[in-house]
Amino acid sequence: MESLLLLIPLSVLLVLAIIGVFWWALYNGQYDNVEREGERILKND
């Protein structure tokens, strides 16, 4: 049970870290056009 005292704060930090990673992905344009990959097979090049 004592491990929870470490694990719960760690999980909070992990969540914040993941949110940070998503921020990076979002502002690098990864979600700007989610249809693009699907449409790519229809294109010639």
């Binding site: 049970m1 929870l4 005292l5 719960i8 704060p9 999980s11 909070v12 969540v15 914040l16 993941i18 949110i19 998503f22 921020w23 979002l26 502002y27 979600y31 700007d32």
Partner: protein, 822 residues
């Protein structure tokens, strides 16, 4: 500073042109003072640049004064309450003539006097109230929209991810009895919950707080007020019980409900904004099809790339395939293949030959086209279409105005009922008071109600615009459903505005086809309407006969039109004379030109008296008589029958002669006919019908029927003859196809049906949620989900209108006719 500038500075035209009115330090200090929730750091002066203004403003004359009118996008506007704020920020300002704000499309139509105020000053007023005015072009640009979508997605993700984790931490509380978890772990879980709720409240919920605060500062209660109060109350109560479990806030925490509720609301808002982009998308695609830049030919024949704004009339451009023409232009190359779906609603390649005109906004389909610009910007029909759509989309239907009026009192009632719920439950079980009050606040928010009308009408107008049917007044949908009578004008509406060949009377031994073959070289050399009608019929015959010339009779030994040295002479006002290189003279035209006696022909039955005729003769005399007729539109009969099938009365009202009107009426099976009607008489007839209780849709060509069109409940203008800005009709069917009239009425009926569904759904949703929430059956997270879902259902339902059902593809058999009439 701001007030002084917009109220007392008198600006002259030359100042404005120089752009020197607003001192720089003034701008800087203003921006420093700005406290709106949005960061407004625009260079407002751009708004006053005359070259930039050409893009989004146009001058209008009102009572002899020169005013400017512009349609601008308002960033940060979400609901009807916001639109009131913007209206308040602009309305009543010195120099502002009129303001119309439309929440659903986030647009404002603004009319101001450039002599009294500057657009930049107005934009600053709006900026101070927390919104941002953008020119349409800029507002629609990718970056603006991208930034907005990204921020919304970012907020949504934070809320969603925190919600999931908060739920994990809350789970132990669900499965244990109070006091079962050791105190240390209990506190640890509460703190973890709190930690992850803070970003949700402080970051993800910001849009709700911003908009609620904006309303509060203007002394009003907006749609986001109950939501904001709900979020704050839950958060403060839960925070209190987290850090002081024995204190006044009790022991309960609602972080799971809180975060989930914010997540659902944001999710709903995200989806709604995506759907709205699609709804407005059809209009945006129409408006933004001109290229940003184009290739202009220099004096030495090479090409330079210039921005659209730098183009001048007379410039020669090279337009690549797939690009839209930037202005109305003349084709300089041999030919150009273009897609004029903009005008006709029908994506079909049309060939334009050297010297013919291509219209702005139509696409070049094949190869590179060389064109000379004839008209640019506001002069083009494309600009007229765009202006018209922008006007219509900022118009407020009566239903929306009503919704705006009742929104304020309704929200007050929501707050009161939430307070009542909290007070009532406090006496029974204090732990339930907070969640119930929050549920009431959220469940009753009339978001769906506010969205139901504009979303349906805009989706429908967008769908029709794609087909080349322009809706000038959104209100027309409402009146269009009520009509029981359709009154047609004849000329240009049921009939084409040109003649067609009715029949050919020919010399014995000759067939009509052979006569037409003989007439083709003559007729094709002239642009006279009669010649064109003959040429249109003759061309297929000539080309079909060419490969098998051996079977041709001696009367037409070398009928194929490619015998080049033939000489065609145009005798003005009489007809054409052809001197064939191999000998022989053919004449096409009036009886006098052909050396014929018309009375004698009439007596022999070789001509008719009640229709215009053209004669063909050779050295031996009379060869053929071509009897012309007004062409009834190919789809007129079917359209009239369809209208009848829809339960509508069909009337024909024409200023033309009795005989001509009767002939058309008989062909189409119309029995209620008034002919030889002057404009005043037409008005009387329509007024008399209305006095009997008829709801009338008038169909005209938009040019000659102004008063009647205005008098009727709804009016259609057919074809693209009349300048859009002058026509008085509510709807414009650009293709001139009558079948689309039928489809438009059908679409209007669908629109009203879906609109009513939306209203009934959202009203009954709100109505049923209030008692349930007060009775304690709805937890806050469910209320949040319900609110998001109801908005989503309403928009989704409206989106069904963005596709026209069973809109038939044009009948292939009619295409040659259609191609010619264009």
């Amino acid at each position: 500073m701001l007030a002084r500038m917009s109220n007392s500075t008198t600006v002259t035209g030359s100042d404005l042109a120089a752009g020197s009115v607003v001192p720089d330090q003034g701008l800087g200090s203003l921006l420093g003072q700005h406290r709106g929730p949005l960061t407004v750091d625009d260079d407002f002066l751009v708004l006053d640049d005359p070259i930039e203004q050409e893009d989004f403003c146009h001058p209008v004359q009102v009572d002899g004064r020169e005013l400017q009118e512009a349609v601008l996008m308002v960033q940060g506007m979400y609901c009807p309450a916001c639109s009131e704020t913007v209206e308040a920020a602009l309305g009543g300002r010195r120099g502002v003539e009129s303001v119309r704000v439309h929440a659903a499309t986030r647009r404002v139509t603004l009319r101001w006097d450039p002599a009294q105020t500057l657009l930049s000053a107005l934009a600053r007023n709006v900026g101070q109230s927390g919104y941002r005015l953008l020119p349409m072009r800029q507002a629609l640009s990718v970056e603006e929209r991208l930034a907005e979508t990204r921020l919304l997605m970012w907020r949504l993700f934070v809320a969603g991810f925190c919600t999931m984790q908060v739920m994990m931490y809350s789970w132990p509380f669900y499965i244990t009895e109070p006091g079962e978890i050791p105190y240390v772990y209990d506190q640890l879980l509460r703190w973890a919950n709190w930690m992850l709720s803070v970003p949700v409240v402080l970051f993800s919920s910001m849009p709700f707080f911003q908009s609620a605060w904006r309303d509060l500062r203007h002394g009003r209660i907006g749609m986001d007020m109950p939501v904001s109060i709900g979020i704050l109350v839950t958060f403060i109560a839960s925070t209190g019980s987290t850090f002081d479990p024995t204190g006044v806030w009790g022991h309960e925490i609602w972080f799971d409900s809180l975060t989930m509720f914010v997540f659902f609301l944001l999710g709903g808002r995200y989806l709604v904004s995506r759907l709205r982009d699609r709804t407005a998308g059809a209009l945006d695609v129409l408006m933004n099809r001109l290229p940003e830049q184009c290739e202009r030919q220099l004096a030495d024949g090479s090409f330079e790339t210039v921005s659209l704004k730098r183009l001048r009339v007379g410039d020669v451009l090279r337009v690549q395939a797939g690009i839209a023409f930037p202005g109305d232009a003349t084709v300089l190359g041999d030919s150009a293949t273009v897609d004029e779906a903009l005008l006709t609603g029908e994506s079909q390649p049309v060939t334009r030959l050297r010297g013919q005109t291509v219209v702005a906004g139509s696409y070049n389909l094949a190869g590179t086209a060389l064109v000379r610009i004839e008209r640019l910007g506001r002069e083009t029909r494309f600009a007229q279409i765009v202006a018209l759509m922008e006007q219509a989309s900022t118009e407020k239907p009566e239903l929306v105005k009503l919704a705006d009026r009742i929104a304020g009192p309704f929200l007050v009632a929501v707050l009161l009922s939430a307070a009542f719920g909290a007070w009532y439950w406090w006496q029974i079980d204090p732990a339930l008071a907070v969640p119930i009050a929050v549920a009431v606040l959220v469940a009753t928010c009339p978001c769906a109600l506010a969205l139901s009308t504009p979303s349906a009408m805009l989706a429908s107008a967008g769908a029709l615009a794609e087909r080349g049917i322009l809706v000038r007044r959104l209100l027309a949908f409402e009146s269009l459903c009520k009509i029981d009578t359709v009154v047609f004008d004849k000329t240009g509406t049921l009939t084409q505005d040109r003649v067609v060949l009715r029949e050919a009377l020919v010399r014995p031994g000759l067939t009509a086809e052979q006569a037409l073959e003989l007439a083709w070289p003559l007729a094709s050399a002239s642009l006279h309407p009669v010649s064109r009608a003959i040429a249109a019929q003759a061309r297929p015959a000539a080309s079909a006969a060419a490969p098998d010339a051996t079977t041709a009779t001696s009367a037409a030994p070398d009928a194929a039109p490619q015998s080049a040295p033939d000489l065609v002479q145009d005798v003005p006002g009489a007809g054409l004379v052809l001197e064939r290189a191999g000998g022989g003279v053919y004449k096409l035209g009036s009886a006098a030109l052909c050396g014929l006696d018309q009375d004698q022909l009439l007596a022999q039955g070789l001509s008719v008296a009640d229709a215009p005729c053209a004669y063909l003769s050779d050295e031996q005399g009379w060869l053929a008589t071509f009897v012309m007729d007004e062409g009834v539109r190919a789809d007129a009969a079917a359209a009239v029958a369809d209208l009848r099938a829809m339960g509508l009365q069909v009337h024909l009202l024409s200023g033309d002669k009795v005989g001509a009107v009767q002939r058309v009426a008989q062909q189409l099976g119309i029995t209620q006919v008034v002919s030889e009607a002057s404009p005043e008489r037409k008005l009387e007839v329509v007024a008399a019908l209305q006095a009997q209780g008829a709801q009338i849709a008038m169909v005209g060509d938009g040019m000659n029927d102004g008063p009647v069109l205005a008098r009727a409940q709804v009016s259609f203008a057919l074809g693209h003859g009349a300048p859009l800005t002058q026509s008085q009709s509510d709807l414009v069917v650009q293709s001139g196809r009558l079948s689309e009239l039928v489809q438009t009425i059908g679409q209007a009926r669908r629109t009203m049906r879906i609109l009513k569904q939306n209203l009934v759904f959202s009203a009954s949703y709100n109505g049923s949620m209030v008692p349930l929430a007060i009775a304690g059956f709805v937890p806050p997270w469910l209320a949040g989900l319900g609110m998001a879902l109801s908005s989503f259902v309403v928009i989704g339902n409206a989106l069904r209108l963005s596709r026209l059902p069973d809109f038939p593809a044009p009948d292939p058999a009619l295409l040659p006719v259609a191609a010619f009439t264009r």
